[in-house]
């Protein structure tokens, strides 16, 4: 199965997002690089609004991720609750 990844800027806004991704994706591997965090996952990665809100302590719109997004791979499926990255192989 191929790897998908998402890379976010390393800053205060993304800390709770990264924590939420770690909670929702136990298989994900987090690489902390200069100024950025790259998260790899086999086959599939899910980002959940509800988990981010718990970590953040406020309402969160998934589209806010765009502000701190650096890169990603895989097919993107987004609705109000989740953003999923996956490969079909």
């Amino acid at each position: 199965m191929s790897t998908v990844f998402i890379a976010l800027q390393a800053n205060e806004e993304t800390r709770p997002i990264i924590e939420a991704i770690e909670i929702d994706n136990p298989q994900a591997v987090v690489h902390r690089q200069p100024a950025m965090v790259k998260i790899d996952a086999q086959g599939r990665l899910v980002i959940r609004r509800a988990t981010i809100e718990e970590q953040l302590g406020r309402d969160f719109d998934l589209q806010e991720i765009h502000i701190n997004l650096i890169s990603l791979t895989g097919h993107v499926v987004e609705d109000d609750e989740t953003l999923t990255l996956s490969w079909n192989d």
Partner: protein, 506 residues
């Protein structure tokens, strides 16, 4: 039990539908063919534009909101950088060569991409791609502007930044990037999308921005980290658009497959050549290096690109034709480029240099199969010549590839001791190429590439007429300031003097 409460806000899907699809209309007093005249000649068949999906479902209102926030963050940091002598926090002023190349060659490419997306946004009949291309067109002009603005802070102190616009049009090496974007912009709208949206943004842009911006962070360049990440936050959306485009075209009609495959073959190789200089930035120009070009290729080329083409195999798409040749070039190209830049440094508006002993140790470790065998002996020889006061300078003109416009400095894929050279005779004229990939591209569209503006023939035309001094004037290159070896340059002297002033009380 939870009560179901009606949400006041529209859901993402409903909002996307209202603010994209519902903005479209059926023309009543012009036919669709008159309105969208470029939809058929490339041979791509589209049956239902409504099948187009933007996975992020970004609408214009949200777009403006988030872009405004990105701009506020960007300018807060750019101001802090300017107010706090940010330029003195660099590891070393050698680093600036990478930035100068970026400003002269890449930022104008952002502007070209802006023009290209503005055009195709007008030419596609579907509302989904119209909106997505409009956003990308605005993104790209924002990138050009923020990059120029961020780097203007360095122009106050260092050479080589002052005439990027002239150099974009006239100096020899920038024609590599310019011809790439001109090639895409003068293609049809579908080819443009595969060229820039898919091949460049999806397959290759990570190799440019991600290691380069981390490199800026490692080397104390806050301004570039900021514009880089601000631009990159848009790239993720562009990449998603690029992948969406290719899926959409392939799902619309099976006849589209061979046309798309041909474009992927072409634009992968064009992109690989245009981004080749990034290898030199990563391996040679960053005083503090993040990872080698080989390591970046393994992550973003082999792993990511591999996953992508495995996924697209279900449509019948194969990895690009030049993929294996690219892999064979990875351990050689940065060295071959830097040797070229060093010997032709009289004609570049940035500095080159001989790698230090430390640099060479690092290069040996990162390129155990190639550096010591093929490239260290050349650098050692060049070092001896420089020490003897007879530095190796090549005032001859580089032979350029008719397709990618790079000097033909590369070697045969299977023999690193033999320069790769191909030629094709077309209508009685001989054309030169750096590789099989570039030769094939030419032979598929010779009438296009024989029109290429090449900087070397320009040297012998008005207003330069073969005079080197006149050429320097014409390309706004200040001899003895902008060009030559970093060792002994004004940039080196000034950086060391100012850094000394900043860290002592003298």
């Amino acid at each position: 039990m939870d009560m179901k409460v009606t949400k006041k806000k529209l859901g993402l899907k409903d909002k996307y539908k209202l603010m994209t699809r519902d903005l479209g209309w059926e023309p009543s007093y012009h036919s669709k063919d008159e309105l969208y005249p470029y939809m058929n000649y490339e041979g791509i068949k589209i049956h239902d534009w409504d099948k187009w999906e933007d996975p992020f479902r970004l609408t214009m209102d949200a777009y403006w909101k988030y872009q405004a926030e990105k701009e506020r963050k960007f300018y807060a940091i750019i101001d802090a950088h300017a107010q706090n002598n940010g330029h003195l926090n660099l590891t070393d002023a050698r680093y600036l060569s990478a930035l100068k190349i970026f400003l002269q060659a890449i930022s104008p490419g952002e502007y070209a991409a802006h023009r290209g997306f503005a055009r195709v946004g007008r030419e596609f009949p579907g509302v989904g791609p119209q909106v997505a291309c409009q956003m990308q067109a605005i993104d790209e002009i924002r990138h050009a502007q923020t990059q120029i603005h961020a780097m203007s802070n360095y122009n106050r102190y260092y050479n080589g930044f002052h005439a990027f616009a002239d150099q974009r049009d006239r100096i020899w090496y920038t024609s590599v990037a310019r011809s790439f974007f001109d090639d895409a912009m003068s293609a049809g709208p579908f080819e443009f999308m595969i060229a820039i949206g898919f091949s460049f943004e999806y397959v290759l842009t990570n190799l440019l921005f991600v290691p380069f911006m981390s490199g800026a962070a490692y080397n104390g360049d806050m301004a570039t980290v900021t514009f880089g990440f601000s631009a990159q936050s848009d790239e993720a959306r562009h990449m998603t658009l690029g992948l969406e485009v290719i899926k959409f075209i392939l799902e619309q009609d099976p006849d589209n497959l061979p046309i798309v495959q041909n474009w992927i073959d072409k634009w992968f190789w064009r992109g690989f050549r245009v981004l080749g200089l990034v290898s030199t930035m990563m391996d040679y120009m960053l005083p503090k290096r993040v990872m080698s070009w080989r390591e970046a290729w393994d992550i973003y080329g082999v792993e990511n690109g591999g996953a992508l083409f495995k996924d697209l195999a279900r449509y019948g798409i194969k990895p690009p034709k030049g993929w294996d040749d690219a892999e064979k070039a990875i351990d050689h190209m940065s060295h071959q480029f830097m040797l070229g830049l060093y010997q032709w440094s009289f004609g570049t508006a940035f500095h080159a240099w001989i790698p230090s002993d430390d640099d060479m140790r690092w290069l040996s470790a990162k390129y155990p199969d190639t550096f010591d065998q093929y490239y260290r002996p050349r650098w050692e020889h060049i070092k001896k010549l420089a020490a003897a006061g007879t530095p190796f300078k090549n005032y001859g003109l580089a032979k350029l590839c008719q397709t990618c416009q790079l000097p033909t400095v590369f070697t045969e894929p299977d023999d690193p001791t033999l320069t790769c050279h191909r030629e094709t005779v077309y209508k009685g004229e001989k054309y030169h190429f750096c590789s099989d990939g570039c030769q094939h591209i030419f032979e598929n569209e010779p009438e296009k590439y024989i029109q290429a503006w090449l900087p070397m023939p320009q040297l012998f035309q008005d207003p330069v007429n073969g005079d080197l001094g006149e050429w320097m004037k014409w390309v706004s290159l200040l001899d003895g300031k902008d060009n030559g070896d970093y060792a002994g340059s004004e940039d080196q002297k000034n950086f060391e003097a100012w850094r000394g002033l900043a860290t002592t009380n003298q």
